[in-house]
């Protein structure tokens, strides 16, 4: 009937063949029996929805949050970091990232190669799960993507685009995947009893500490401390922070991996901790500076979100408010570290995600009271020790891993744009585009 349909289907067929060969021919096969009855429609719907919510945290959420905070000559390149992180990590995750993080354990430190190319990752649920394995895989994919995108705040306005792309691929492979395995994939921290409900350690400490390594290795932006580097579009940043808040319900409540009471509890904890974080930041700011700022409210909300992330499913609303308030204060102080220590973490990734994530990890050890977690205040002092071990191990591993990757990229293609390009702006020099007329 229509002449071009056969041609199109032929190319789709050859594309499919290619994918099937790479994935070891059989990744989407149904299990013969049993599994189907475990599937729960509500749980599946919620996790798929949550995966999309986490994507919305990155694009447009984080892209806007970060994009608004840079100067107008770098807004496109900054938004591109988040966008390309999603694209790169998504492909890496399918081919090897998911397997390294979640395939059956090898020595407690990394997943094996059994699920390369998603071989054997299909429509059936994993043992003990009520959602298709693919749904779990794609949910985790979004977490990996946002972690890489978060780091980009530290290197904004001065890193070569090609260098960021290569760095992202290496980082998700050699830092993120093992870390995710340690905590969620049956690795040694999971064995130890580390509590990280939705990624305070795996996502936030790891990206925050990686950001510190990036800031140290890349060096300061040209003109840092003398030029005006104030945000060029704070409305972007406020919209971005608001989208992060909305998307974070997928991140935290979705981490229940089921549409159940734990999800509802994590949802509530997330919401009230965020509100408390914003109030705390604005309050401290008003006290010390005389003016509550809009950027402070947005930053405090994100600080609250980060802080509650590891605890979301383990605490009630009152503890969540305390954790959020603490997060707002701790992160407010966290962003001052860079002035004291003299590094240029451009958009305060360490100050908010690293410090907030660490506070959250410790706070989980203090306040956990439900969902299988018991903290210090509920009679289990050991939990705090385990949380500190988990956070400390993540600090060391992420810092060293990131440092080595940066040195490798610097030694091969170079990390930083030339000084002239930096002054002209990364939008023009990295992408040959301008954001505004």
């Amino acid at each position: 009937m229509n002449a071009y349909i056969p041609i199109a289907s032929r190319s789709i067929c050859s594309g499919l063949m290619f994918v099937l060969v790479l994935s070891g021919l059989g990744s989407f096969a149904w299990a013969e029996d049993g599994g189907v009855s475990q599937l729960n429609a509500g749980d599946t719907a919620w996790v798929l929805m949550s995966s999309a919510l986490v994507l919305a945290m990155i694009i447009p959420g984080l892209a806007l949050f970060y994009g608004g905070m840079v100067r107008s000559k770098n807004v496109l390149s900054t938004m591109m970091h988040s966008f390309i992180a999603v694209c790169l990590v998504s492909v890496v995750w399918v081919f090897w990232g998911y397997s390294l993080a979640f395939a059956p354990d090898v020595g407690g430190v990394v997943g094996g190669l059994k699920w390369l190319g998603l071989t054997g990752v299909g429509l059936e649920p994993l043992e003990g799960s009520t959602i298709p394995h693919l749904a779990f895989m794609v949910f985790q994919l979004m977490f990996a993507a946002i972690t890489v995108a978060l780091i980009s705040g530290a290197i904004a306005e001065r890193m070569k685009f090609s260098a960021f792309a290569l760095f992202g691929v290496l980082w998700v492979t050699f830092v993120y995947a093992p870390l995710a395995h340690w905590v969620w994939g049956g690795g040694w921290l999971a064995e130890l009893g580390d509590l990280d409900f939705a990624g305070g350690t795996v996502v936030h400490i790891s990206s925050g500490v990686a950001a510190l390594a990036c800031a140290l290795v890349l060096g300061k932006r040209h003109g840092y401390g003398t030029d005006n580097m104030s945000p060029h579009n704070l409305p972007f940043t406020v919209i971005g922070a608001s989208l992060l808040w909305i998307g974070w319900f997928g991140f935290n409540a979705g981490s229940a991996l089921a549409a159940n009471g734990v999800a509802a509890s994590a949802f509530v904890a997330t919401h009230v901790a965020t509100a408390a974080g914003a109030l705390a930041w604005v309050g401290v700011e008003g006290l010390y500076r005389g003016r509550p700022t809009v950027l402070g409210a947005a930053s405090g909300a994100v600080a609250g979100l980060v802080s509650i992330t590891p605890a979301a499913g383990y605490v009630g609303p009152i503890a969540a408010i305390v954790i959020g308030l603490g997060g707002g204060v701790v992160c407010y102080l966290g962003v001052f570290l860079k002035h004291k220590l003299g590094y240029d973490d451009a958009l305060d990734v360490l100050g908010i995600h690293g410090i907030g994530g660490t506070w959250g990890a410790v706070a989980t050890g203090l306040f956990a009271s439900m969902g299988g977690g018991t903290g210090l205040f509920f009679g289990n002092p050991m939990q705090v020790v385990i949380q500190v071990v988990g956070a400390g191990a993540t600090w060391v591993f992420s810092f060293v891993g990131t440092f080595l990757i940066l040195k490798l990229v610097d030694g091969t293609i170079g990390l930083r744009v030339s000084r002239e390009d930096e002054v002209l702006g990364c939008d023009l020099t990295q992408h040959r585009e301008r954001a505004y007329g």
């Binding site: 700011e285 500076r289 003016r291 700022t293 962003v335 002035h339």
Partner: protein, 112 residues
Amino acid sequence: MKLIQAIIKPFKLDEVKDALIELGIQGMTVTEVKGFGRQKGHKETYRGTEYQIEFVPKIKLEIALADERVGEALEAISRAAKTGSIGDGKIFVSELHSVIRIRTGESGEGAV
């Protein structure tokens, strides 16, 4: 002929414009400008980082006038633009050698 350049606070533009129109003044050019005088700038704070903003936004108003009308125009601008606080702006008056109306080719005071 004289060229009047008045630097005023942006929120005073409407009052100044109305006062000048009341005098029967036919046209003016308005530009958004930045600068500082004794007012200096202001401070902005982003996540605790302070920036001293040296140049403050102002409006520059330019009017060309016949010599005999300058006095009342200066009086009107001063009255309308005044708040009494620092940063109200300045008025510069300079000699204007020639004016040409492009449409008709008229020149001199008839073209003002």
